[in-house]
């Protein structure tokens, strides 16, 4: 029983449970299908990117450029489909672009040996600037292909499409981290890079893969977001990277690498999103949408450190 309570996931579950009970007493509207769907839909883009970020943070790296890349992707996908009229070409160009950005992020880290906190911060600035070089104005949906709109706005049996996409990707990452040797490698590299190298593991190769995977996931999330907004917008994902990283850390992944779970990440995101939602439902000033998660993040990481000190 004591072990059960020492697990990070258990605590996160309890926090969510507390919020759910509290909010449903406060405002019965909370349990409406529409409200739950809106929480899940807005969670899914964050979750998709957070899967990649969990891998990166586990291996001791971070990617701050995901928000800027996400905005860029919405612009590219909308523009290319507008011009070509082809969904395939639109998606292809997004994934090629994301692959290249991930590759560059990875090479800056592994070949140039620039700390990823700084390297990807630079990439964030580069992307934020160059998206305006690409196009000064927001790009509206002029192609009007229904399938595209369906990706972000559609439902299957009352479940929003973005949630379904997320649920398709989810098991791949649970599988990757828990059941394959690659999952072990990411943990080993983050926990002790010297030891993993001395065990014959090519640290740099896996770090590179981590950056590329994360960028490709941003590509998927960006397509969803563009569809949801029906626009390609330059500044559409400001602060997105911070929400993703905060959620992953809240989920128990260590910023120093070496430990992380997908389940924890999902719970972390749900907590942030339920709080978001609660603030709206309780008509608290919207500014608190940033304040409350900030406070919770500090507390969560603090309790995590406490628990680790006690155990180790």
């Amino acid at each position: 029983m004591s072990k059960f309570f020492q697990k990070n996931e258990t605590i996160l579950f309890l926090i969510i449970f507390f919020f759910l009970v509290f909010l449903s007493f406060y405002n019965p509207q909370f349990y409406s299908i529409q409200n739950i769907n809106s929480i899940l839909r807005s969670s899914s883009t964050v979750m998709i990117v957070a899967f990649g970020m969990t891998i990166l943070l586990t291996s001791g790296e971070v990617d701050l450029s995901v928000g800027a890349l996400l905005s860029f992707v919405t612009v590219i996908v909308m523009d290319v489909i507008n011009i070509s009229g082809s969904l395939f070409l639109g998606f292809l160009s997004v994934f090629i672009f994301c692959f290249l950005i991930g590759l560059i992020n990875g090479l800056v880290r592994t070949v140039l040996n620039v700390n990823s906190l700084i390297g990807t911060l630079a990439m964030m600035l580069i992307l934020q600037g160059s998206v305006y070089i690409y196009s000064m104005a927001a790009i509206y949906n002029t192609h009007l292909i229904p399938a595209f709109t369906f990706i972000g706005q559609g439902f299957v049996y009352n479940v929003p499409m973005p949630v379904i996409i997320m649920l398709v990707i989810l098991p791949i990452f649970v599988f990757l981290l828990n059941y394959t040797r690659y999952g072990r490698y990411f943990t080993a590299i983050g926990s002790n890079p010297f030891s993993s190298n001395l065990s014959g593991i090519n640290n740099n190769r896996y770090k590179l893969i981590g950056f590329i995977i994360t960028s490709l996931l941003v590509g998927i999330a960006g397509i969803i977001l563009a569809s949801l907004m029906d626009t390609g917008q330059q500044g559409s994902a400001k602060g997105f990277e911070l929400i993703v990283i905060a959620a992953v850390l809240l989920g128990g992944t260590s910023f120093k690498g070496g430990s992380g779970t997908i389940l924890g990440t999902i719970l972390g995101i749900l907590i942030l999103k339920v709080i978001d939602n609660g603030i709206i439902l309780m008509s608290i000033p919207q500014e608190f949408q940033l304040v409350v998660p900030g406070v919770i993040l500090i507390l969560a990481v603090y309790f995590d450190t406490l628990r680790k000190e006690k155990n180790g």
Partner: protein, 496 residues
Amino acid sequence: MDNSFKSLSLKNIKKEFPGVLALDDVSLEAKAGSVHALMGENGAGKSTLIKILAGAYNKDQGRILFDDKEVNIDNPNDSLNLGIKVVYQEIALIPEFTVGENIFLEKFPVNSLGIVNWKKLYNDCNNLLKKIGFNLNVKEKVANLSISEQQIVEIARAIFQNASVVVMDEPTSSLTPNEIEKLFEVIENLKKNNIAIIYITHKIDEIFKIANEVTVLRDGKLISHRDIKDTSEEILIQDMVGRKVEQKFDRPVKSFDKVLMNINNISTKSKLKDISFNLYKGEILGFFGLMGAGRTELAKAIYGYDNISNGTVEIDGQTLKKFNTQTMVKNGVGYVTEDRKGEGIIKDMNLRENMSLPSLKIFEDLFIINKKREKNAADDYIKKFSVKTPSSERLITLLSGGNQQKVLVSRWLIRELKIIILDEPTRGVDIGAKTEVLSLINDLAKEGLSVLLMTSEMNDLLSLSDRILVMADGKISKEFYRGNVNQEEIFKASVS
């Protein structure tokens, strides 16, 4: 500087660590204006003694007398207040600051407003350097100085406030002969200034140049204290080495015929110079060397962890010029580090995951790790090496040092292995587990594994090695064969 200071003496000092008696009834007296050399093999207790003097460790028993008055050294501050300054091997200056700024770092001369009086600082600095007989531009950045000059700055920094005792730990290890001469001049000047010097070194010839008396420690015990006039190189080596009873393992002298690995003229930028040797199948090849001789550097260079600047490695007839750790692992080489905590264990993983890390491929069914097979393999080795743990799922950090070491060795045995490189395999392992680890190595070699055994423990070396290569200063200085070994000669070759 305090001119009334006469002597600092340590009396009957005892210090125990879990499982080890690091110092057993050791006494030492440092007299003003004189150099007292402290010698002994690695692990003899020199650093423990120094750390007690510096206030980093507390003694368990014994007394410390400062000018015949008993004093307490409970923390580094007590030590500094008595004027005891330790100059460590690693230089700890701020490279971007000037000589003057570094020397007066703790106590810049300031006026009542807190503004630094630079003129006074550099004047005082010049006077100080003159006092120890050294000429240096006090406004030069430390980063632009040679290593020996930096060392002098360290010494100046140590003594600028009333130093009574200066402890130097292997001060010449990275100096050229010319620079050593300069350092000795400075030491002579310190003596004139009524400072007592405790001088730790492996290099016997230096002692006869500057020391007045010499104390030898071995295994935490005081072996001898002699006036420099009453001793000789032979006597000192005898004192340091003693007659060791080597542990008996069933390992008869035999000759090997099949060369497995061939090292040709390996050099690295930092340390190694032109190293060549052969390793035979089933052979335990021991490498002995003192701190800084280049054993670990050699191990890491062969294993592809550090880059080599020159040379080749040949394994089973295949010549490798450019290689990394992955190449070596693929070629059946394994490596167990001397730094178990820093480079060995993965603290976020359990025993099983630590053991299987380099060999995960063999536990894969398609893409999935078959945890059952993995666990079985781990359980096999837990049993085979009697690793003390409740289960293979225990967090690695919860095991003792010896048991962690067994896991790290097993890490390589799970896969097909031809050569294992062991760097200080018994470091930090308690005595009982030591014998177990050693006999495990013996068994592995009997099964046909070739072993490179890097060690500074005479006992490990003598009880297992079929052949011994002695390293000194990045080179191989001498070769010995099992059954024809002389401890004094090994030691002599290692200090040359």
